[in-house]
């Protein structure tokens, strides 16, 4: 794999062996930030001083002979909806501008424990609601591969940071595709782990039954290393998986001989012809490596998008009730508490967040609950049954990650439904709680990267990564 920048695996090894200092590594990425951040706007906050201090402390520990951890000196960018103690965590919203969390997210603690160096907080669609990072209160992020294009979203800043070499690793959150779609648009690897594999403690909640934190990286091996650091049980998240996290890196080279790979017919149909062509080539590559590849039908996944846009807004309308001007963030005064609440929320939330709160409140309101929210939950069951049936015959499923390559800024901002369609291939895995990942596989007619998605049943990360590793190697 010919990554344009140093990999996380290589950097950690070099720092551990004393071939490079963590400070040198940080200076290198900060220099790239200095050159290109102005045009890309990947970050809401660049933590240059904190990163240098963390790197120096790490170098001192290494000099004393201490074990610096598996991510020794590796720069990491954090989506700005992950809580960092004493460091602004805005969710790219005016309603949280200036808020400094009084605690660290569990993933942030684990990164520090593994020797990683946080270089900044990345831009996102406000409260992770969007597919282009254009819904940020602080302005859009641009795609480093073509700055007239969006980086995807909602974790567009994290995807752009990795693509631009601002950090070899980044964390995002994926509720309906918010890691995988921007990773595909920016030509990097993005992983949504099994629901419950990574603690959500300290992730600002959007839709709690769907949200999951996951890695961005330039290579499959780097993504595996990061996932192994952040995965595992956390008593602070009651939905966290109690069992031990399965090793991934150790099995990366096991190949796909004899594996059964299903190409999901409904998720290939309707995507751009150049995107479909790359997915077919990926399928051929897996067959060439010894997998048994066949098409499979999951008839109800075509309803995934519509079900998601009832379930996710419903959960969001409940989760975002906490932004009431009382305990943190913005307050706009009113004559009484209710007026203050409504004025604060009216001034603090952007258009897309308002749209989702309204949609969710409507779908949950008296008279509509069963027709919309209840029905969407029953369709969610049907989609899970389709996956379960498919996984009786297949070990992994493959599809496009997004129906198109990265679109131009402004192309979909006036049509919410057109924007939502960008997540049509990624949403089903969130509804099922299953792991799914994307890796770049060739380019479209416009020269921009195409993402191929690999999906697996719950806790199937080891086999999913094996398939991704074979695809990565087959790109030549």
């Amino acid at each position: 794999m010919s990554a344009p920048f140093a990999t996380a695996v290589g950097t950690a090894a070099a720092v551990r062996l004393g071939e490079r200092t963590a400070r040198q590594v940080v200076e290198e990425v900060l220099a790239r930030v200095g050159v290109r951040e102005g045009e890309i706007h990947a970050f809401n906050t660049v933590l240059a001083g904190d990163a240098r201090a963390a790197a120096d402390a790490l170098d001192q520990r290494i000099a004393r002979g201490e074990d610096p951890g598996p991510l020794a000196g590796v720069p990491v960018a954090l989506k700005d909806n992950l809580c960092t103690r004493g460091v602004p965590t805005t969710c790219s919203s005016r309603i949280l501008e200036g808020w400094k969390p009084p605690y660290d997210a569990t993933v942030v603690e684990r990164l520090a424990g593994a020797g990683a160096v946080v270089v900044g907080k990345t831009n996102l669609d406000e409260f992770a609601m969007g597919s282009s990072t254009e819904n940020s209160a602080f302005g859009p992020t641009r795609n480093p591969l073509d700055t007239t294009r969006v980086p995807g979203g909602s974790s567009g800043g994290s995807a752009a940071a990795v693509a631009a070499g601002f950090a070899p690793l980044a964390l995002g959150s994926d509720t309906g595709g918010s890691i995988r779609q921007p990773a595909a648009f920016c030509g990097v690897v993005g992983v949504k782990p099994t629901y419950g594999a990574v603690s959500r403690y300290g992730l600002v909640a959007f839709a709690s039954s769907l949200d999951q934190i996951g890695p961005f990286a330039a290579t499959v091996a780097d993504a595996a290393l990061l996932l192994e650091v952040i995965a595992g049980h956390d008593p602070m998240d009651s939905t966290s998986n109690p069992g031990p996290a399965a090793p991934i890196s150790a099995r990366l080279g096991d190949g796909v001989e004899g594996l059964r790979v299903g190409i999901v017919r409904e998720l290939v149909k309707g995507v751009d012809a150049d995107v479909e062509a790359r997915v077919r080539e990926a399928a051929d590559a897996l067959a060439g490596a010894g997998a048994k590849v066949d098409e499979v039908s999951l008839p109800t996944v075509v309803h995934g998008l519509a079900a998601y846009y009832l379930i996710a807004p419903a959960e969001a309308s409940s989760n975002l009730a906490r932004y009431d001007g009382v305990r943190y963030g913005l307050r706009v005064d009113g004559t009484d508490v209710a007026a203050m609440n409504a004025a604060t929320r009216g001034a603090g939330f952007g258009a897309e967040v308002k749209r989702r709160i309204m949609l969710g409140t409507y779908a949950l309101s008296a008279g509509y609950y069963d027709a919309y929210y209840g029905q969407a939950q029953r369709v969610r069951t049907l989609i899970i049954r389709d996956f379960d049936a498919a996984y009786e015959d297949f070990d992994v499923l493959v599809s496009p990650t997004a129906p198109t390559t990265a679109f131009t800024l402004g192309a979909k901002t006036s049509d919410p439904l057109a924007m939502y369609m960008s997540d049509v291939c990624t949403i089903p895995s969130n509804l099922a709680g299953h792991p799914a990942m994307t890796l770049p596989y060739g380019t479209g007619d416009d020269g921009l990267p195409v993402g191929v998605q690999v999906m697996a049943p719950a806790l199937g990360e080891p086999v999913m990564f094996r398939v991704a590793a074979v695809l990565e190697a087959s790109r030549g």
Binding site: G196, S209, H303, Y309, R327, Y328, D336, Y368, Q377, I384
Partner: protein, 100 residues
């Protein structure tokens, strides 16, 4: 299938959501919510008789921790982030209107 969403519906929902909206936002939401709900019509029309709802992808049960006293968030650090605080509490405007 529920009726088409109206301006009055949107205004009512905004009140439920404690969300001040301008007239322009209100009118725009009638259109946008209508479009998303039209798209959801296919879901609303599916025959799901006998299908149980899924609220969550995991078979969840209550998780209890031992009832032991542990340190919590630092009070001063938390209150420092409040729009208004007084005597170790969050201060808000009146809740019940004018007092006696």
């Amino acid at each position: 299938m529920p009726d088409r969403i109206t301006t009055a519906d949107v205004a009512h929902v905004a009140q439920l959501a404690r969300l001040d909206l301008t007239e322009a936002e209100l009118e725009r939401l009638v259109v946008d919510l209508g479009a998303v709900l039209d798209h959801a019509a296919g879901v609303a029309a599916l025959d799901t008789a006998g299908v149980p709802p899924t609220a969550h992808p995991l078979p969840l049960q209550n998780v209890l921790r031992p009832d032991e006293v542990r340190p919590s968030l630092d009070r001063d650090e938390v209150l420092a982030m409040a729009p208004q605080a007084e005597d170790n509490r969050f201060r808000v405007p009146s809740i019940l209107g004018d007092g006696p």
